[in-house]
């Protein structure tokens, strides 16, 4: 029973992504994955010629067999299992490695700089539980429906922003000195952490480099990264949107640019962030050569 639920989750996951992309574009590919998934569900072993498809198929198979939640995958465990499986299946490790490597990099970036701040801002205030989500549509209740329409069609908003004072005071000397003491301690701690992270990063990229050595993927990627980096440097502004770096509107270019940007972020040349995860706009901040 539990197993079935998770499998459905994987299919939902795919369908959800399908709903986000254009009809013609990548939908056929997603359809393809859904079919693939249904076949494995029926006990059919995956045998696909395209190496890229095969490596993805294995990823799905793993998620299903290991009862992983597709919305919340522990990438560390996943990578270990995935590479083991890929080896067993004699999958082209270059492609497989690339998938894991990119996933890892993104995860590392997130855990380095984002997770800490996210924890801090998380509020404990939770007036609702999942059980509170209305099952019927908002349209089905007359009052709710008319309220919504009223609000949308009003010339002004029903809520007024109150006017309060915005006064602030100067920082006191005590606060300055306390801040200095804290800053020193925090900076020391940060540097210790940063050293550990650097060593871990170096170890990982060494591993990945070995895996990708001499492949066509590596060559292309390096070239792409170079081009994107040059583009970023041509912008007078420090912060730009990822779309600023794309010439055409195609998904393929966007993915190529995103990959390059992730590499650059990994090298600390740029900072990549979203105001909202996962569908917010992606911003890139150049950090110079320093």
């Amino acid at each position: 029973m539990e197993q079935l639920k998770i499998d459905n989750e994987v299919i939902n996951h795919l369908l959800f992504h399908k709903s986000l992309i254009d009809e013609k574009d990548d939908a056929t590919r997603i359809n393809h994955y859904v079919n693939m998934l249904q076949k494995t569900d029926e006990g059919e072993h995956i045998s696909i010629d395209n190496p890229f498809d095969r490596s993805i198929a294995i990823a799905f198979e793993l998620v299903i067999k290991q009862h992983l939640n597709p919305w919340d995958i522990d990438l560390v465990n996943f990578s270990t299992m995935y590479l083991k499986k890929a080896k067993e299946e004699k999958i082209d490790l270059m492609t497989a490695g690339r998938i894991i490597y990119m996933a890892w990099k993104v995860l590392k970036l997130q855990s380095d700089d984002l997770v800490v701040s996210m924890k801090k801002t998380e509020e404990e205030y939770e007036p609702f539980g999942w059980g509170d989500i209305p099952t019927e549509m908002w349209l089905s209740k007359d009052d709710d429906y008319s309220y919504t329409n009223l609000v949308i069609n009003m010339p002004e908003s029903p809520l007024d922003e109150p006017v309060r004072r915005e006064a602030n005071r100067k920082v006191t000397l005590i606060e300055l000195v306390e801040a200095f003491d804290e800053a020193r301690k925090e900076s020391e701690e940060y540097q210790i952490l940063e050293k550990q992270r650097r060593e871990e990063r170096e170890r990982l990229s060494e591993l990945a480099r070995k895996r990708m050595k001499g492949t066509a993927v590596e060559d292309h990627l390096e070239e792409d990264v170079k081009v994107v980096w040059e583009k970023i440097n041509q912008f007078p502004k420090k912060t730009i949107s990822i779309f600023d770096l794309c010439e055409k509107k195609g998904k393929e270019e966007l993915i190529k640019v995103l990959l390059s940007v992730l590499f650059l972020a990994y090298d600390n040349k740029v900072l990549v962030y979203q105001k909202r995860f996962p569908f917010g706009k992606i911003y890139i901040k150049s950090m110079g050569y320093s």
Partner: protein, 176 residues
């Protein structure tokens, strides 16, 4: 002196520039929480009844906190000097989220169209709403800051809803 304590609490409300809790007032004045509560109620009454025509400010309960702000009647002129932060379309979206909460992002999308995503972004950045993953969509609720920010005397969703209904009918009556 009782009278002086009242003035002390008033001066805190004036200087804070944001809603303050009873605890914060206690920390800054040393007055006991019970006494502070009594003083706050007196102050609310003083401003809204006794001195009604002799002041352009009011003291209100905002969520679990208290604040001094300009009376609605005088907002139009003073808003120019204090610069509001939220435009009226965004305020409407916020109203809808507060009214229907917990509201699925996909339903908000159905109500107001694609701008829903940008608005959710902005409101979340302002910490006025929470957005939490729920399966394939996001569940939207207002945060604790919401009633504080707008001077709403409740943190309960049902009471916030009542407040919002009153607001809409108030505005509609003003227009006519």
């Amino acid at each position: 002196m009782g009278k002086d304590e009242k003035r002390l609490v008033e001066s805190i409300l004036f200087s804070a520039s944001k809603p303050v809790s009873i605890n914060e007032i206690k920390e800054n004045t040393g007055i006991t929480p019970n006494k502070i509560k009594k003083i706050l109620n007196e102050l609310i009454e003083d401003y809204s009844v006794k001195r009604k025509n002799e002041t352009s400010m009011e003291i209100v309960k905002a969520g679990d906190k208290y604040t001094m702000q300009v009376k609605k009647k005088y907002i139009d002129s003073s808003i120019m000097i204090a610069k509001p932060e939220i435009n009226s379309n965004l305020l409407k979206t916020l109203t809808l989220i507060a009214f229907h909460q917990p509201l699925k992002q996909s339903n908000l999308r159905r109500m107001i169209g694609v701008k829903a995503y940008d608005h959710v972004d902005e409101l979340a950045t302002m910490k006025l709403i929470h957005s939490k993953k729920h399966g394939s969509t996001e569940m939207l609720t207002t945060t604790q800051l919401f009633p504080e920010y707008f001077g709403i005397d409740s943190t309960k969703p049902e009471e916030i809803k009542d407040f919002l209904i009153k607001k809409v009918s108030g505005k509609l009556n003003n227009i006519e």
